[in-house]
Symmetry: C2
Subunit: 253 residues, 2 copies
Amino acid sequence: MRYFLEIAYDGTRFHGWQLQPNALSVQEVLDDCLSKILRQPITSTGSGRTDTGVHASQQFVHFDVAQELDTEEMVYRFNRLLPADIVARNLYLVADDAHARFDAFARTYHYHVTLARDPFKRYYATYLPRSVDVARMNEAAAVLLRYKDFTTFSKVKGDTKHYNCDMYEAVWQQEGTELVFTIRANRFLRGMVRLVVGTLLDVGRGKITVAGFEQIIASQDRSKSSGAAPSEGLYLARVEYPEHIFKTSPITN
Amino acid sequence: MRYFLEIAYDGTRFHGWQLQPNALSVQEVLDDCLSKILRQPITSTGSGRTDTGVHASQQFVHFDVAQELDTEEMVYRFNRLLPADIVARNLYLVADDAHARFDAFARTYHYHVTLARDPFKRYYATYLPRSVDVARMNEAAAVLLRYKDFTTFSKVKGDTKHYNCDMYEAVWQQEGTELVFTIRANRFLRGMVRLVVGTLLDVGRGKITVAGFEQIIASQDRSKSSGAAPSEGLYLARVEYPEHIFKTSPITN
């Protein structure tokens, strides 16, 4: 039987989502926990990777298990064993061929910036010592919605076959000294959100005009992008699936 | 010349405010920084202590220095040298006899509780796996305002001469799955807020009635208090001084 597990994690002490030798990953800790509780070797498949220091306020994984599970009891037991920086939120029985990565039709990331030094946010938001022009950053962000090819904001030639993304939303919101960027698309390229944010922040600082930002996207040239914004501000915030793959309802907790 | 420095700190990795051998304190790190920047040995005096793991969203210290300081430049330079979990917010020239501890006429603490497991709050709020009766906790908190002797909620016979506090405010507020307790008084006894919170949470759990809570206060018997609530939820949030001791205005940043 296949299950979707919804989790959240603080990425600070992990070398990203993906299992790897000689470095602690979220996946390694999660799979160890699932394997112990379910008394069989479990290898989970995530909706996508997050890099070192990047957080997830919502992430989904799928895994297969021989027996049917009591979803509420399992979430309780997972949380008893998981370290406090990984939290299990929900468990769903899903269709046998449901896939955490391939069935996700949209992903949303948040990027948090703080304009005031805050000792409590040092791992959770990026501090900007100087103010930025948020209205200008939003003009530039709106340009993203008119493009499909985001080669400019891809890190390296990876395993992707193409650089097209359907961009649904890209907007900055300010509340007091906190800025939050929300970006939603069907898919994202490796390192893309941090490169987009880094370049938008240069628009906000007046280093790049809105027209210049559009030229940078249109160039499809990686060297034109600004440097990646730091990892601590980035959160995978939402992963969306078609309703029909879920066979059980969310537990209430 | 005497200065008041306003700071905030994340208490997670510190063994409290107070300087001590063989353990890292906020005061040690702060005094080292002040001494380096001001090129003279500085020993600061805090408005009060915080215990291991307790935070301060506002704390004041005073220190003496031979020369007059450019307050804005100094705050900038302190923050360049301080670790990211201690932040300098403001610096004020004050009256020569102003005292960070003795001149404070009120202190406010916040205690944060989360009713949902949250990987981002594990050092910043106390997680309660079960719901509590907030209305009942507020009935009991209101009782605090009718008493002056808080022997019940004092940790040990320490250096205090009496156990009287003028209690100005004690209230729980709920927003979603987050509860925040605000308590304001002229002074607090050692360990007092965590003992009050621990006992109020037992009221919220139905283990103690409101009448029982009042009897516990009136008993002036330490053994009647519930255990102290964990340190990670506690914040020194505000320290209030008479206006007249300040000789300079806050810097804007």
